[in-house]
């Protein structure tokens, strides 16, 4: 059985279409996250083990459609997963890594969180691109029994990095690092530790 010439042409056409579609795509999607391997128990573990409920994270960004725009190509930069989901997963991971239980039994503390900023800026330089990633997370802790609000804080993570060539990988790395910094601020906040020690005692 011989291949039809149209099959070859069809294959070439498909390849060309993929190349054009990728080149002309107006969106660049970054798989931003907070990997398990990069988190560990820290100051937050100084509070006795608590049961914590984390509500859905509210998206309070001024622009919820994108995290940035590529300065050279004009592409819209987005995340592969919804930003509130990324932030909630990161918070849950940090809480559990510090020895507190999430979503089991009657909670001692309720955490409400919101994303105020989650953005990536690219600044063209001489022979390099400078990325600045910013993550601002608002966290409110309430006593689960009384409902009383105990603490309200904002955690800011900013990472900047210069690379020779602009790339999605470099942008993702910067956003990962900015998110990690915001989470480290959360996990090493002495007031957060004090509040968690107080609830349920």
């Amino acid at each position: 059985m011989t291949r039809r010439p149209l099959g070859h042409l069809g294959g070439l056409a498909l390849l060309a279409w993929i190349a054009v579609a990728q080149g002309c795509s107006s969106t660049s999607a970054l798989d931003v996250g907070y990997p398990d391997a990069r988190s560990n128990a820290s100051l937050l573990a100084a509070a006795p083990p608590r049961r914590v409920d984390v509500a859905g994270v509210a998206d309070r960004r001024s622009d919820t459609e994108r995290i940035g725009t590529s300065s050279k190509s004009g592409k819209t930069v987005v995340t592969t997963r919804p930003v509130p989901d990324i932030v909630r997963e990161a918070l849950l991971l940090e809480i559990v890594k510090n020895g507190h239980a999430v979503g089991t039994g009657r909670p001692d503390a309720l955490i409400q969180a919101e994303v105020n900023d989650f953005s990536l800026d690219g600044v063209d330089g001489f022979s390099f691109m400078q990325y600045v990633g910013r993550v601002v997370i608002g966290v409110t802790v309430a006593d689960a029994r009384s409902g009383q609000r105990l603490l309200s804080r904002h955690y800011v993570g900013i990472k900047r990095s210069r690379v020779e060539k602009a790339s999605e990988e470099a942008g993702r790395h910067v956003m990962d690092a900015a998110l990690a910094r915001a989470l480290h601020e959360f996990a090493t906040d002495p007031e957060m530790v004090a509040v968690l020690a107080r609830v349920g005692s």
Partner: protein, 254 residues
């Protein structure tokens, strides 16, 4: 014969099934009556919790700091770079272009740097060290946190750990393109923690720190107090950032 052999086995299985059914019924009833919120929680994962603090630390600001107003978009160099891309031997000329670009930048930077230099009364590394000390004290993870003016000598109570803080560069940097471009204060800080008894480096980090505020450069060149406030703010932020990373990475051992 067969029926005789089967009869005791059947009775046995029926009684076993009845017992299992009774247990299941009891369990279902109990769970149905119990309030859902009192479901026993899964035990939290075992975590090594920080012990009582036993270590004291002394922080020393050290080294030279260079103040810079860094605008990476300087057009002469960028344009030359773009031209060299199309020139066959552009790669060979690129180092020369870099030197030319830096010379142009230095001229502009020096000029702007003078305009917004906040003339701090203390070295930048000292401000970073003070802020780091405040954050470490607030954490409660050290028996004592001191800030020293210089390297520790034999006088006085020695600290268990010495943290040396340096700020190689700090200043103002363009962080968003636009009209006008927006700038932020920045600090590149390093910290090195050494065990005093052994001289072993137990922790070190390099942190790029950027102020959250973004302002037009002109607002800083016009208002000296605002510039000073922004730059001191980002230096203090750098101290807090160093403390946060120390506490995050070493809490289990402090």
């Amino acid at each position: 014969m067969t029926g005789d052999l089967m009869a005791p086995g059947l009775d046995h299985w029926i009684s076993r099934l009845t017992a299992v059914a009774a247990i299941l019924l009891l369990a279902l009833t109990a769970s149905g009556c119990a309030p859902s919120t009192t479901t026993p929680a899964a035990p939290p994962p075992p975590v090594a919790r920080p012990a009582e603090p036993t270590l004291s630390v002394a922080i020393v600001g050290t080294g030279q700091s260079q103040f810079a107003v860094d605008e990476p978009s300087a057009q002469p160099g960028r344009t030359l770079d773009e031209v060299l891309r199309w020139y066959p031997y552009g790669g060979m000329l690129r180092p020369l272009a870099g030197v030319l670009h830096r010379a142009v930048n230095r001229y502009f930077h020096t000029d702007r740097g003078r305009t917004i230099d906040p003339a701090l009364p203390t070295p930048p590394s000292s401000i970073v060290g003070q802020a780091m000390a405040r954050s470490l004290r607030a954490s409660g993870r050290f028996t004592e946190v001191r800030v020293l003016d210089g390297e520790p000598t034999g006088d006085g109570q020695p600290a268990d750990m010495i943290v040396r803080v340096t700020v190689p560069t700090w200043g103002v940097m363009r962080v968003r393109s636009g009209d006008p471009d927006l700038v932020s204060g920045f600090v590149d800080a390093r910290a090195l923690m050494v065990a005093r008894s052994t001289g072993v480096v137990v922790w070190e980090t390099e942190e790029d720190v950027t102020a959250p505020q973004r302002l037009p450069l002109e607002s800083l060149t016009r208002d000296r107090d605002l510039a000073r406030q922004e730059l001191v703010g980002v230096l203090e932020r750098a101290g807090h950032r160093l403390a946060s990373e120390l506490l995050y990475s070493r809490s289990g051992e402090l």
